[in-house]
Structure formats: C-alpha cells, structure tokens
C-alpha cells in the first residue's frame, strides 16, 4: 500500500514537469521550503530546541552558492554543497557557546545572530551587493545552463528527495533517537548516557546544513535575491509549516509545507489577513493540536 502511495506521489511530481511555468515555480518554491522546513524541524521538532537563526543560515547558503556561481562559474552542485557546509559550520560556532547555559540562551543568541546576519546581508555591499539585492547568474551543471523553472525542477526534486531520505535516515538512527529523548526528557537522556549538549549542538549544525542546502536551491530557479528574504517573516512562515504539519514528523512537515505553502495561491484575497492567519494558526495549533495535522490522524509515533 505504501509503495502505491509513494509511486503516485512520484508520478504526480513527474506530471508537474509538463505544467505551465507558474505551476513549476510554485512547485520549485515548495521543494525549497520543504528542505528548509525539514531542517528547522530537526532542531525544533526532533531535538526540542528553539532558535531564530534558520533564515540566516538559509541566507548564508544563498549568498555562498550565488557568489560561487556568479564569480567563479563553478558547476552545480559544488556551490550548493559549499554553502551548506559554511552554514553548518557557522551554526556549530554559534551553538557551542550558546548552549553552555540555560535553554533560553539559544533562542536569545540566535535572535541576535539572525538580526546581525540580516544587517550584514544588507550592509556588506562589496560581497552581497547590500540592499540592492544580488543578481544570480544562471546555474551551470557542467556544460548545461539552467535557464528556466522547467530546467530547475528535476534538479530541485532530486535534491529535495535526497534531503527527505537523509532526514528519514537520521530519524531512525541512534542520533535521531537521542534527539527525541532529549526533547522529551533531558534528565532521562543524561541518565541514559546521551551527551545532551553535544546532541543539541549537532542538531543545530544539521539544521543549519539543511538550511544551507535550501539556500543552494534558491539560485537554481531565481535570478535575484534580496536580503529582506531572510527576515523574521520567512522564519514565521516556515515555523507555521512545521507546527501546523506536525513537529518531529517528516510526513507532517511535508504536509505542512504543502498546506501553508499553497495557502497564498488558493486564497490570495485572504492576504490582507495574512499575519492574523499565520499567527492564529500558530497559537491554535499549539493549543489544540500539539502534534499538528499529522498527529491528528496518526496519534502515536513508533
């Protein structure tokens, strides 16, 4: 049965390839959001830590990938991998001091870091072109140039699928189990020989890695990026996706990305209410549906 569902999903994904560019652009966006959200959820949903820096890591991924492509013309996927590596390293550098004390300090430090990073994106004209925004050259895959959304889609699909598999593998590994243990009871994790601090740091690093990969996906189907993309607003959108979909569940996160990601397309008239809708969804979900949509029809996790 599961095989049929997976096959149908893959078939639907294939069908999108023949749709108008509009559909492809939205699909590409959703694939990127999916990686971004899966990454945030590794930190928030699996390890139970809260941080504000996700969009900053996303930005590091975008700028690294974009600049390597623009200036050196390096072929995909090297710029993306470099961006992801850099994002992960920066994440580790922040997590190590931030996780020394109380749990809230990660939230505080990253709140500050996110704002500082945005300031850097805005102000470091020599590298990011500042608030003029950065034009992104067409991505090169060896000799092939990716010019439009249709070219980019298969690549993005492959990257997103790879990241989903990575995440599933992580979830069923000892590390994933340690993260879940930590989330639910830190004393229990410690008594079970789990190095809580190390697991938190690693979770933060992996979450940054996912954000960096998502950042590497953006230049594939966009020709321009502006630092405002990496503000709090983006974080709230991604957060809404994982909270509504279901924290800690890959399936839930993907559902959340689809639901919240498509919301603006199906209800553009509702956009006046956008902030109220996002905020309200966040509050109502944590109040009434702590496991999100996924938890509502799969109450337990094995």
């Amino acid at each position: 049965m599961r095989a049929v569902w997976i096959a149908l999903a893959l078939a639907a994904a294939g069908l999108v390839f023949w749709m108008p560019l509009y559909v492809l652009y939205v699909a590409n966006l959703l694939l990127m959001y999916a990686v971004l959200a899966l990454g945030l959820d590794i930190l928030v949903g699996l390890a139970g830590q809260f941080a504000f820096a996700h969009m900053a890591f996303f930005g590091i991924g975008v700028y690294t990938t974009g600049l390597l492509g623009n200036r050196l013309g390096v072929s995909f996927p090297l710029p993306m991998l470099a961006g992801a590596a850099l994002a992960a390293i920066v994440a580790l550098l922040i997590a190590i001091p931030a996780l020394r004390l109380r749990q809230v300090y990660l939230a505080l430090t990253t709140f500050a870091f996110a704002a500082a990073a945005q300031w850097v994106f805005h102000s470091w004209d020599a590298v990011t072109e500042g608030s003029n925004g950065l034009r992104l050259a067409a991505t090169r895959v060896l000799a092939w140039r990716i010019v439009d959304d249709r070219d980019a889609y298969p690549l993005l699909l492959v990257v997103a699928l790879a990241m989903v598999l990575l995440r599933l593998s992580l979830q069923s590994s000892k590390l994933g189990r340690s993260m879940r243990a930590l989330h639910q009871s830190e004393p229990l994790a410690l008594a079970s020989g789990i190095d809580a601090r190390r697991v938190k740091i690693v979770a933060f690093g992996i979450s940054g890695l996912f954000a960096g990969i998502a950042g590497g996906m953006l230049p594939l189907f966009n020709s321009y990026v502006h630092p405002d993309t990496f503000g709090l607003e983006g974080l709230v959108a991604i957060l809404t996706m994982i909270v509504v979909g279901g924290l800690g569940s890959t399936f839930g996160v993907l559902i959340g990305v689809a639901l919240i990601g498509l919301l603006p397309e199906v209800m553009r008239d509702l956009q006046v209410l956008r902030e109220v809708v996002y905020g309200g969804l966040l509050i109502l979900t944590v109040m009434f549906l702590p496991q999100g949509v996924a938890g509502a029809w799969r109450p337990a996790r094995a």
Partner: protein
Amino acid sequence: MTRGGKPTVIRILAVLALIAPLFAAPARAFPDGAPSGKYSDPGITDTEITIGLFGPQSGPLRNFGYDPMWAAAAWYDMVNRYGGIWGRKIKLVTDDDKCDPTTLNTVVRKMVTVDHVFLLNGGSCTPAAVSAQEFVTREKVPFVMLNAAGDKAVFPPTRYVFGAFGGTQLTVGGTLIDFVAKQLHFKRIAYLGNDDDFGAANLAAAKFMAGKREVQLVATERVPANVVDLTAPMLRIRQANPDVVVITAYPQPATLAMQKVSEFGLTMPIVAAVQSVPNPAALFKNVNDPAAFKNFYYGSPLNDLTDGPGQQWVLDMYKRAYPDRTPTAFMSYGVPSAQAVTYALLLAGPNPTRESFVDAMSHLKFETGIMAGPIEFAPDRRDAHNASIFIKYDGTTSTRMPGVYVNEFRGE
C-alpha cells in the same frame, strides 16, 4: 523506510510503469505562451487585449501600491469607455504582489503562463520588480512597472523593462541639490538619507549634482529605516554647521529628524524628499512645533500639490471609479504607466506584437498632465521621468515654489 528494502522499490517502479502512459499524452499540454488564432503573441484577439496589472494589495507596503494600481485600473476603464484601443477593449487581470520578490515572481509567471496576458503593468517596489526582470526578458514579455522607482531595474536599461514614472532615486537626490543650489542659493548642505539601496542611489546623484552646482555636502548621515533614536546623527549634523539640511530618509526617521530639529532649535531650512513626507500634515502633527517648519520644503514628482488644480482630473477620475474610497498621496503615481501603455499600443498599430509594442515604448515621449516633467523613453533609456517640483509648507499652507528641477546624473 529502512525496513522496506528492495521489494518496495520494485513495487514503486511497477506502479510507475503502469501509469507511464499518462505522461506521454499531456506532453506540453499546457504550453507557456499560447498564441491565439492569427496573432503571433498571446493575450490579444480581435476584440480584446489582456494586461496583467499588479501591485501590493496587502502587507506592510500596501500603501505604495494599492491606490496607484486602482488608479491605473481606472485609467484603463476610461480608455475602454472611449472605445478601447484600435477597437479592442482592455481586459485586466489583477493580482497582489505584496512587494515581495517571491510573490511577484509567482504572480508574473501566473499572468504570463496561465492567464496569457499580452503585457505586464505592475510593481511598486524595486527589489520585487528587479527579481522578475530575467523572466520577462527570457519570455520576451513587456514589463511596464507601475510606480516602482526601480533604479536597479532601469539602470542598466534592458529591452523589456520600463519604469520610474515617478523618477528614480537618482532623480530624488539630484533634483534636491538642484533646488537647493538654484532656488535657495545655499552652499553647505547636510544630507540625511537611508542606509539602503535607495539611500545609496539618491546620495550618488546628490554628490554628482553638488559637484555640478558647486555646492558642498558637509555632512552625510545614513540611517536605518527602523532607527529609534536619532540623537547621534543629528548631533553630528549640528556640529557640521550646514546652511541647509536635506532629508531623503523614510517617513519615520524623517519625523525623528524633524523632532530633533525642533529639540535642538535648529533654524536652518529643511528640504525633504517626497518619500520622506508622504503626508505633510501628519509630519507637522507628529513634530508638533511650528518653529521647526519656518523654512521647510519638500519635493514632489507631480506637477502640482496633490490636491492642486493640476491634479484635479486624476482625482475626479478616481472618484468616479471608486466613489467611496479616499485616495492617498500616492494615488496618481499609478496613472502615467497606464498612459504609457495605452499610447504605445496606439502607436504600435492595429496589429501589435509584443516586439512592436516594445519598439513603440522605446520612442515614447509625452506629457502626462500629472508629473512634473515629461515621460520620455529612448532605445537606450528605460527610466521615464527625471524632474521634481518643490513645495513650501509651514504647517497650514502649502505653496508651490517656482520652477521644475532636473537631475543630470545618469549613473556611473
């Protein structure tokens, strides 16, 4: 996932093989730009021409685009009532771009590949508009920006993108200095701008014009848009002892600066850009000190005060279309782009193509009856407008200063 092993993969492949024929059938069932009948471009029939009209209708930047977009719609509506263009009615497809690059890109792709519009008329914010530039160039769709200043979108010029109907930030900076030098005859200028791309652009033009008019920028302060305390920069400006303070910052920092002018009892004249003073009465109320407005001027790309006789016909048109709305000061900024689209379609002849439309746009020059200067494009020029008037405001009355001021800086 980990337990399934090979059988799952085989089953998935089997199902995929079963439904594979589905893929062959609809291969390119949804072509991106379906031409209709005898016309080589989409969005045009014997009776209709479809235009995609968009701007921010929600979100924090809604104000920049809501009224302008509907003012443009009112213009097209008026054109239709007069019989349309070459016998064709204009059909509008409208949408909300939120001034956000991602949303604008989605909107633009939807309009081009699903609604099959002939051309795009929209965008009130430069970054969002710039992000669509590559797409419209690749798809060869004319993109006439609504009221985005669009320095980055029009410098360097590209074939399919037209804009800056209210002038660019270069116009803002350049005309301010022109006015200060030619009309007020001051030599020592302090400059307070934003720390973003807008600020950089208007400052570049100001520097150029300062050299040209032989005046001096004795202090330049660039402040973040969400700054809370302007004590330090205003102290530095006071220390520089200028003859005049020029402000191009956003409304909030501009108000904070005027508060400091009042607090420090500064007496030199203040000249502000239009973007700093969207609503002079609100500024006056927020500062709450008539002394600070003894010598206060602000620029405008329009041909008159927003409620002056020069603007009356636009206000009338808007009122007719939307009797129950009160337009903001930005309303009429939306109309010139719609005028340009209309005139270029007329010039492009009875059977326009996207290319012939672009050619017509590239040689367009006309007076809008709205803006301070003419709208003017050329094969190597995509910024439409480059002039300002200045208005003296003392808290109760606004007086238009004589003359139209022009920026001579065309970018590096």
